[in-house]
Symmetry: C2
Subunit: 464 residues, 2 copies
C-alpha cells in the first residue's frame, strides 16, 4: 500500500474540531495535527534515519545505548518538548561473543549462520560437539523423554509463518522463549533453534530466552531458515538409511554476563493546558538488538509517537499532557517499562499506547477503555477510518513497556500495524533503514496524531 | 512465471522428429527428450538438492571440491552416462580467513557485514585502520589523483541495478574486477567496495579480483548494500558540516594463499551412434564460492545440462556424442575451462553451450553458428519457442568455461536465462537451495533437451 487517500485529512480535521472543545483557544485558526502530519515536515523519518545512522545498534546497558540516550535527549529538546529527562535504572548485562556452528557429519562439514540467544551460556572458546536431537516443534520437545535429549544438542525445527497481525510469534516463539529452559531441564548440552522468523536469508534471528531459577543455562542459539532447511534435509538423509547415523554439530558461542550496568528511560512531554488533568502516555523503546541498527525495532516506533505528539503540540496546546517514553532495555527483559512503572505506576494516567511493531501501516484500532470513554473511542475510530484503519472487536492488549500500567488498569489503545513483513527482519542484521517504507511510516504518524489529539483533549468525565 | 504451456511439448516432438533423421532407430517408438523432460523424473532438482545438501560449499582446490568431484563421478555413473572420468589440473589456492570491519568515527562505532574478495591480501590479525576515500563509482576512482587515495581505505559506492539480461554485471562489476588493482596502484592501504549485487540484505557478495603483475595486492573486501548505504550516509554527514571530519574504518581480513593444489574437471558422455561425428560439449561448473552452498551458482547449471543430456540419451541414441563438462575451479579464474581447452582444444567440437546463470527460465536463444547450420538454428528456434523462448538477433557469446573453445571458433549457442533475481544472491551466503524455483528449473531442462536433441542429430553438412 503506497498511497493513502488525500481527502481524508478533511475528515480528520472535522473529528479534531469535535474533540478540541477543551483545547486552549489560539488567536489564529490552528492547522490540525493531522494536517501537519500529512503535509508538514517528517520528523519521524529524521528520527529513524539519524538514530540508526549516527548511533546504530544500541544494546541495553552498553555504551552505545548510553550514547543513544544522549542523542535522544538532544533531539527531543531540539524538537521543543518540555521536561526532557533521563530516569536511570540498573540491569544485568549480557553481551554476544564469537558465534560459529558447523554440521560436521555424516556429510561434508558445512558452516551454519548462527547467533546466540540473549542469556545463552557460553560453550567456551573451544566450543562443544554433540549429536543432534531433532524435534519438529516445541511441543515435540516438551513431550520428549529425558533420554532422547540428555547429552545432545537439541534442534527445534518449527517454521514461523507470516501473518498480518504477527500472531505466529507467540506460538512459534515458544521455541525461543522457553525451548532452551525445557532442553536444559532434560539434560541437553546445548540447543539450536530454527530462527523465529519468516524470511529465507542467512541472517539468524536473535532474541532473549529465559531459564527458570535453579536451571543452569546452556548454550542456546538460532540458525537462519536456509540453514535450518539444510539441517532438516541432512537429518532426514541420515536417519532414512538402513543404518542411521547421528547428525553431528560443533557449536561455538562465547557470550558473557557483564554484571550490573546502567540503562535509562528518556522522557519528554507536551505540557497540557490543564495541570490537573492526568496525562496520556505513549511509549516506544530506544534500545535495540546488536545485530542490526534497530530501524524497525524500534527507532520507527520512537519516530512515530514523537512525530505525532509533536504535530499535536504544534497544532494547539492539548488539555492533557502527552508524556513520551523512550524506554531503555526493552529487548532484554522490559527493564525500562518496569522501571517506569516502579517510579510512576501510582500516578494517574488517562491512557497508554505503544508503538513497537515496525513501520508498516496501521490497519486496525483496538480499544480497552472505560465505558465512560465510548464517545472518545467513537471519535477516534471516525478520525482514523479514512486512513484505512478498521475498528477491532477485541480489547487492546497494550505493549511490553506499558504492560505493567495496563495490567494495573490504565486504559489502552492499540494501533495495530501490518506485521506481514515484520518477522522477515525482526532481531536480525537486516533490521536497517532501507526496510522502512516512508509512505507507510507517515500513515502511522497521521493515525497517531489523530488519535493523540482526540485523547489529549478528552474530558475528565470520559477518561480518568 | 510459474506455468509453461503444456501443448508445447507436441511442437517439441514434431521438431525432434524433423531433427532425428540420423538417430539410430529403436524398435518401440521412443518418448521424445522433451516429453521426458516435461513429464519424467526430475534429475536436475535431485542433482541440485543432493549436491548442495551432502557437499555444500565447494571452494576450488579444497577438500570440499574434491569431495564434490567424488560425489559427481558417482552420480554421473549412477545416471548411466559413459566415460565418466576426472581430469586433474593444478591451481594456486586462496582461502578466506577472519572478516570484520567497523566504521569507527566520527560517529558511534558500528560493525559492518564484510567479506574478502578472492585474491585479497591480508590485513594481519590486528587489522588496519584508516580514513576513507569515498568514490561514487569505479570511474571516479580511476580518474582520481594519487593524492586523494594514498594511505587511505578506498570505498567505491556504485549500486548495481537488476536487469533481465544481467548486463549490469560488466559495468558495475569493474569496481570488483579491477577496482582493487587501481586503488593499489594509487597507493591505497586497502579497498572496500559496495557489493556487486542487487539485494538489500546484510550478506556481502564475494568474487575474485586480480592485481596486475608487479602490483602488490592490498586487502580488498565488499560490504553489503545496507552497510554501503550506511557508510554513504555517514560520509555525507561527516563532510557536510562546517569542519569536515574524516570517516574512519577498521578492517580485519586474514585470507591466506595456500600455494598450488589440485582441482579437476569431471567429464561424462552420452555416446553418439556415429563415432566419426564430432561431439557437442555442454558445460557447467562444479566448484562454488565458500559462503553459500552454490545452488544457483552453479549446481543448477550442472543439474540442467545433465538432466537434459540424460533425457536425450533415454529418448533415443543421438548421432553425435554429447560431452558433459562439470568444470572445476571456475570461480577463482576459469582454471577448469582452460585445462579442458589445453587437453581437448585441438579436437573437433560441433558446438559448445554452457549453463551458469542460475535456475530461472530461459527467455532468449542466441546463436553463433556457421552459415551451413542455419537449418539447425531454425529447427531449434522453432522447438524452444513454445516454451517462451524468443530468438535473439545478436551472436551467442558462450560462457566462461567454454570461452577458449568459442574463441577458437567452436560454434556456440546461448540459452539466455532471466537474470533479474540472479544478482540478489550471487556469491553470497544466500546462494542456497530455497532460492531455486522448481518450475523454472524444469523449463530450463526442457529447453535444453530440445536444443541438445536437435544439435546432437545434426548432419556433418550442417555443423563441423
Amino acid at each position: 500500500m503506497k498511497n493513502f487517500p488525500a481527502p481524508a485529512r478533511f475528515v480528520g480535521i472535522a473529528a479534531l474540531c469535535l474533540a478540541a472543545t477543551h483545547a486552549s483557544a489560539s488567536d489564529a485558526a490552528p492547522e490540525s495535527a493531522v494536517d501537519l502530519a500529512q503535509h508538514g515536515a517528517d520528523p519521524a523519518w529524521s528520527i529513524v534515519e539519524d538514530l540508526t545512522t549516527e548511533i546504530g545498534p544500541r544494546m541495553a546497558g552498553t555504551e552505545a545505548e548510553a550514547a543513544a540516550r544522549r542523542w535522544a535527549i538532544a533531539r527531543l529538546q531540539a524538537l521543543g518538548f518540555a521536561n526532557v529527562r533521563e530516569e536511570q535504572f540498573d540491569l544485568p548485562v549480557w553481551v554476544r561473543g564469537e558465534e560459529q556452528a558447523w554440521l560436521t557429519g555424516p556429510f561434508q562439514p558445512q558452516k551454519l549462520a548462527v547467533t546466540a540467544l540473549g542469556n545463552s551460556a557460553s560453550t567456551g572458546s573451544k566450543g562443544i560437539e554433540g549429536d543432534i536431537a531433532y524435534f519438529e516443534s516445541f511441543d515435540a520437545l516438551a513431550g520428549a523423554s529425558d533420554a532422547k535429549v540428555k547429552g545432545k544438542i537439541v534442534f527445534i525445527d518449527n517454521q514461523m509463518k507470516a501473518a498480518q497481525d504477527g500472531s505466529g510469534y507467540g506460538y512459534y516463539g515458544r521455541g525461543r522463549f522457553t525451548g532452551p529452559n525445557v532442553a536444559a531441564k532434560k539434560g541437553a548440552i546445548a540447543i539450536v533453534i530454527r530462527s523465529i522468523g519468516t524470511d529465507a536469508h542467512r541472517n539468524p534471528h536473535t532474541g532473549v530466552t529465559n531459564f527458570d531459577p535453579g536451571v543452569k543455562p546452556i548454550p542456546a542459539g538460532a540458525i537462519s531458515n536456509p540453514d535450518a532447511d539444510q539441517l532438516a534435509r541432512q537429518w532426514k538423509r541420515a536417519v532414512a538409511v538402513t543404518q542411521p547415523e547421528p547428525l553431528h554439530m560443533k557449536l561455538v558461542l562465547t557470550p558473557q554476563n557483564l554484571g550490573t550496568k546502567h540503562s535509562g528511560n528518556v522522557i519528554a512531554e507536551v505540557p497540557g493546558s490543564d495541570p490537573a488533568a492526568s496525562p496520556i502516555i505513549v511509549a516506544c523503546h530506544l534500545d535495540s538488538w546488536d545485530l542490526g541498527t534497530g530501524a524497525i525495532d524500534d527507532a520507527a516506533g520512537c519516530g512515530i509517537i514523537t512525530a505525532a505528539a509533536g504535530h499535536v503540540m504544534k497544532a494547539a496546546t492539548p488539555r492533557r499532557t502527552i508524556r513520551i517514553l523512550w524506554a531503555g532495555a526493552e529487548e532484554v527483559g522490559v527493564f525500562g517499562g518496569k522501571a517506569y512503572f516502579e517510579t510512576h505506576g501510582k500516578e494517574k494516567h488517562a491512557a497508554a499506547l505503544e508503538s513497537d511493531f515496525g513501520a508498516d501501516r496501521v490497519w486496525r484500532i483496538d480499544f480497552k477503555l472505560p465505558d465512560s470513554a465510548k464517545p472518545v473511542a467513537d471519535r477516534i475510530a471516525a478520525a482514523v477510518m479514512p486512513f484505512g484503519v478498521v475498528r477491532g472487536k477485541q480489547p487492546a492488549g497494550g505493549g511490553a513497556d506499558i504492560g505493567a500500567l495496563v495490567q494495573a488498569g490504565v486504559p489502552a489503545i492499540d494501533l495495530q500495524q501490518d506485521g506481514t513483513r515484520y518477522f522477515d527482519v525482526h532481531h536480525t542484521p537486516d533490521d536497517t533503514l532501507d526496510k522502512i517504507d516512508p509512505m507507510q511510516l507517515r500513515q502511522n504518524v497521521t493515525v497517531w496524531a489523530a488519535t493523540l489529539a482526540i485523547l489529549a483533549n478528552s474530558t475528565d468525565d470520559e477518561l480518568p
